[in-house]
């Protein structure tokens, strides 16, 4: 059973610059425009089972190189759901396209269609002056007579099995059953869960009644073979046809015949199903871009190439913005790397808040970084009260991750680096393994946890999904061991959770020990001399409690609860001085005030205060918790609900160090917090020591490649 994507649309990597409706014969069609410059790429809708979000992996990339127009079909998305079948005719959809081009004041566009049933062909044949090039992805256009389907669409059938579901009566009885069946056939590639969930979600935004207005079987939906051939003869623009060899919905022979009929190039994607633009977006995007360049040559650009032996050694560091911890450790590793490879030039591809740290440190942020879609904003939008379903939040970031990979890919096409370093740069690692031919430099992958783990309340579905993600990763590494030249675990083998990747998969620790080098933990600072209380304005006769949730906006609920605990804690510990650090994304004025309690929006060098405090209250993020561990401070930590990394990986690691007291946001209220603060205050800790040479060890592993 597939769980459709949540009704709330996930964060887009790019939002339209203009949108609106065009109206034709009383039908309102919703369109969007992204980007301002030529060339224009028009992405028309296909069957109204899905809407314009089906282009989500293409829009951000094409919009960075030109203008993109999309529109929703009649019957889905934000367009009307007309009750007259004429509104769904393919020739009518071609006219909607013309109306959208007019509304966006676009003279000519390259049309990139998916599963075209006639609309794009009609558009190019009947309005040649509006179409400068035509790309067909998995076209359903028949050049020869079709096979008669096994089951009747209109008759009552005595079975619901397989394609018998493609039946008027079944649709009305179990629309979601049909949508799930059809969409699952669309993506036969393994590990397609997200693409399937997305498309099922779009299918459920409309209904059987609406689809039935414009559908009486494929033979009437698609234009007929004779018309197809006739229209092909009229097309004059360049054509590219792309089709998956494993397409279960439309046989690839149709694409080959169509390309032959049009005199265009046909590219077969081995192993791809019916939706390669969703499933192999890097390949499709780069192919369409090449096609677009050949159709609409751009102003000549200035090129530059440096002879191999004239090149400086250069590294591109891609540092994940999710969790502020990466920035500091990556800067520390970069510093060590420069001391081993003195002439190394390091560029950073990064976004806020990593860039704030980098600028402070005088590091060079590559200008292409401005094109990165915002990841932290998305993560915040996915969170609720002390709750972040981090696995789902990362899944729902697929569009952003791909958009950011395409930025990376453009950058490394233009500029040569000796090594790419990705610290939990998921987009880089994932899409490189999906597109291994894109590797052009040594590549180092860094992470502090391995293995997606299900939360108990996610049930079977979440267990299945995390195991599927783990399996894909394991298959990626097994098939392309050359891709990661170094895989560096920021930690030690004992930090790895004693769990399995999933049913029939190896245990995480065994596999990680086989596939990673271990750098030890990287704090990014030297703990010696940090505990100087005087310099920070703390007196010896006061007991300092720092409350912080890091840089994220997810922590306001926890801060509020600790504020509520302050009076009771103060009663228990009269010399308590509590300082609540709201951080850049939480308004301190929005927090309740208490007599004697200090609330600050920002504390410079917070890590020094954490090193000098008597007790701290924090979230379950690895960085802050490990800073406290390294500095041997007592602390309470509250893992975010549904955050598998904080609940399993971090908790396991802190347990190993004997560090921190794990609290439960569910059950621990103000009095429990006050009691725990009183108990922890001044406790002699017996934590395992944290190594201080992690950055140096990581840098040495990287330097071997330079």
């Amino acid at each position: 059973m597939i769980v459709a994507a949540a009704p709330r649309e996930q964060t887009r990597a790019r939002y339209p610059d203009e949108d609106g409706f065009v109206e034709r014969n009383g039908v309102r069609i919703f369109w969007e425009r992204y980007g301002e410059t030529e060339p224009t790429i028009l992405l028309p809708p296909t069957w109204e089972l899905v809407h314009s979000r089906c282009w989500k992996m293409q829009i951000p990339y094409f919009a960075r190189h030109g203008r993109v127009l999309t529109f929703d079909p009649p019957g889905n998305g934000r367009s009307d759901r007309p009750r007259e079948s004429a509104a769904y005719e393919r020739s009518e959809v071609a006219e909607y396209a013309v109306a959208v081009l007019d509304a966006a004041r676009v003279e000519r566009a390259i049309v990139v269609s998916w599963c075209d049933m006639g609309e794009s062909l009609i558009l190019a044949a009947e309005h040649p002056q509006r179409v400068s090039g035509l790309v067909f992805i998995a076209p359903a256009l028949p050049v020869h007579e079709r096979e008669v389907p096994e089951f009747s669409f209109d008759d009552e059938l005595d079975t619901d099995e397989g394609w018998a579901k493609e039946n008027r009566h079944y649709w009305l009885r179990d629309w979601s059953g049909y949508v799930e069946f059809f969409i699952s056939r669309m993506f036969p590639e393994p590990h397609s869960t997200k693409a399937i969930e997305d498309a099922v979600g779009w299918g459920l935004e409309t209904d059987a009644e609406t689809l039935l207005v414009g559908f009486r079987g494929w033979d009437t939906k698609e234009i007929d073979p004779a018309t197809t051939v006739e229209l092909c003869a009229k097309v004059r623009c360049p054509v590219l046809v792309v089709h998956g060899t494993a397409d279960e919905l439309v046989e690839p022979e149709r694409a080959c015949s169509l390309a032959a009929e049009l005199g265009g190039a046909a590219v077969l994607l081995e192993g791809s199903g019916h939706g390669p633009h969703a499933r192999d977006p890097v390949k499709i995007n780069t192919m369409v871009r090449e096609f677009s360049k050949s159709v609409a040559p751009l102003e000549p650009e200035v090129g530059r190439w440096t002879r191999a032996l004239n090149r400086r050694k250069r590294a591109l560091y891609v540092s994940s913005p999710i969790g502020l911890g990466h920035a500091r450790r990556d800067v520390a590793i970069a510093r060590e790397l420069r001391s081993v490879v003195p002439d190394l030039e390091i560029d950073w591809l990064a976004q806020h808040p990593v860039t704030a740290v980098l600028e402070q440190e005088g590091e060079r942020v590559h200008p292409m970084s401005v094109h990165l879609a915002n990841e932290t904003g998305h993560i915040e939008s996915e969170s609720a009260e002390h709750d972040l379903h981090c696995f789902q939040a990362i899944r729902r970031m697929d569009e952003i991750l791909l958009a950011n990979f395409m930025v990376f890919n453009d950058l490394v096409r233009d500029e040569q680096y000796d090594v790419w370093i990705g610290d939990e740069a998921w987009e880089l690692d994932y899409y490189l393994h999906e597109n291994p031919e894109q590797k052009r430099a040594a590549y180092v992958w860094l992470t502090d946890f391995v293995g997606w783990l299900p939360m108990p309340d996610g049930g079977d579905r979440e267990s299945f999904l995390t195991a599927d993600y783990n399996a894909e990763m394991i298959e990626h590494i097994a098939r392309f061991p050359r891709l990661r030249d170094r895989a560096v675990f920021v930690g030690n083998p004992d930090d790895i959770v004693p769990e399995s990747f999933g049913p029939d998969l190896p245990t995480i620790r065994d596999w990680t020990e086989q596939h990673y080098d271990f750098a030890g933990y990287v704090t990014g600072f030297d703990p010696k001399g940090l505990e100087d209380r005087d310099a920070l304005g703390y007196r010896d006769d006061e007991r300092v409690c720092i409350v912080t949730v890091g840089g994220s906006g997810v922590g306001a609920h926890l801060l509020r609860r600790v504020v509520d605990a302050y009076p009771q804690a103060k009663e228990r510990v009269p010399d308590l001085r509590m300082i609540v650090v709201a951080g850049p994304r939480i308004d301190p004025a929005a927090l309740p005030q208490q007599d004697g309690l200090e609330i600050r929006s920002y504390v410079h060098d917070l890590y020094r205060h954490l090193a000098a405090c008597d007790v701290a209250v924090v979230q379950g993020g690895l960085t802050t918790a490990m800073e406290l561990t390294a500095n041997r401070r007592p602390f309470l930590y509250f893992p975010l609900r549904h955050h598998f990394e904080q609940n399993f990986h971090v908790r396991h690691r802190l347990g190993r160090y004997g560090a921190g007291r794990c609290m439960d946001f569910e059950t621990d209220g103000p009095s429990e917090i006050a009691a725990a603060i009183a108990e922890e205050l001044g406790r002699e800790v017996d934590y395992l020591p944290v190594e201080t040479d992690g950055a140096e060890r990581a840098a040495k592993l990287i330097a071997e490649l330079l």
């Binding site: 360049k293 050949s294 040559p297 000549p300 650009e301 200035v302 090129g303 530059r304 190439w305 440096t306 002879r307 032996l309 004239n310």
Partner: protein, 298 residues
């Protein structure tokens, strides 16, 4: 240290021509070679008579796998005639030889690629015969659109000098006295890149296949009035243009390539660290750039 020359016998080629022959104009015979049968036809132009068509040896096998490639030995070297007199080596004569070769192989339209002073006849062809030229790529173009290197304008070419140091070797009397010494100096300037021994040996070998008298005539021929201002001619070029220029080119500064790209509306690719003849020294990069350029014309 004196350069040991490659054996006089031509080294084994990676690919031999499918067809070859002579075209003759006013008694001057020009030797052409044709490789491959793809589309379009790519004409690899001759350059200064110091070298002949073997200077394209790193391009021919690759390009001929994709296109129909034609080369010819410019008059004055290789298997072509060595006429006498500046007027027989004018820019226009080289353009007319090019058209005659295209006619001989029944080719209406071609992409031209040229090194150094081949840009002079290449621009003339593209500007005056747009119907014959689909695109033009120029490598280290020796065009009078920007100032030459200052050290090249210190000494007279015709006067007897009291020095033969450096660019003073670019002097008729020195050529006639010690041609080999000039060749070694000049070819060394062509390849500023370290580790260029093979390219240098090749080029000196080709240089020894002609005479200083021919080179002097060729230089004088290039200086003859063209009848049209070269900058004006550049503006007439309508076909796509690619300019490839090394920023360590000791013969013709990068500014000349940049100016040619600007004047023709073409694309400039700067090769950092490259000298005057990157088609020999960085053949992979140059081959890929030519291929990409030819593909962009489709």
């Amino acid at each position: 240290m004196a350069v040991e020359l490659a054996a006089e016998r031509e080294q084994t080629r990676a690919r031999y021509p499918d067809d070859s022959g002579y075209v003759e104009r006013d008694g001057v015979r020009v030797w052409y070679e044709l490789y491959g049968s793809g589309e379009p036809t790519v004409l690899l132009l001759p350059t200064w008579a110091l070298i002949h068509s073997r200077h394209w040896k790193m391009q021919i096998p690759y390009l001929a796998r994709h296109y129909r490639v034609v080369t010819f030995d410019g008059r004055g070297n290789g298997r072509s005639s060595r006429p006498q007199g500046a007027e027989t080596y004018s820019i226009r004569e080289f353009a007319l030889d090019s058209l005659a070769v295209l006619d001989a192989i029944a080719t209406e339209r071609a992409v031209v690629v040229g090194v150094s002073c081949a840009a002079l006849w290449g621009v003339l062809l593209a500007g005056e015969h747009p119907e014959r030229i689909a695109g033009a790529a120029f490598i280290g173009p020796a065009v009078p659109l920007a100032r030459p290197h200052s050290e090249r304008v210190v000494h007279s070419f015709h006067e007897q000098l009291d020095t033969s140091d450096g660019w003073a070797k670019y002097n008729l009397h020195h050529w006639l006295t010690d041609y080999r010494d000039f060749l070694e100096f000049f070819v060394g300037k062509c390849f500023t890149e370290p580790h260029s021994t093979k390219q240098i040996e090749d080029m000196i070998g080709w240089g020894l296949e002609t005479t200083p008298e021919v080179l002097a005539d060729h230089d004088a021929g290039i200086d003859l009035p063209l009848g049209v201002d070269f900058a004006e001619l550049c503006k007439r070029v309508r076909c796509p243009v690619l300019v490839i220029h090394g920023d360590q080119d000791a013969l013709h500064p990068l500014e000349r390539g940049a100016a040619l790209a600007e004047a023709t509306g073409g694309r400039l690719v700067t090769l950092e660290g490259s000298g005057h003849l990157p088609q020999a020294r960085d053949p992979v990069k140059v081959n890929l750039l030519i291929r990409e350029f030819v593909e962009s014309l489709r």
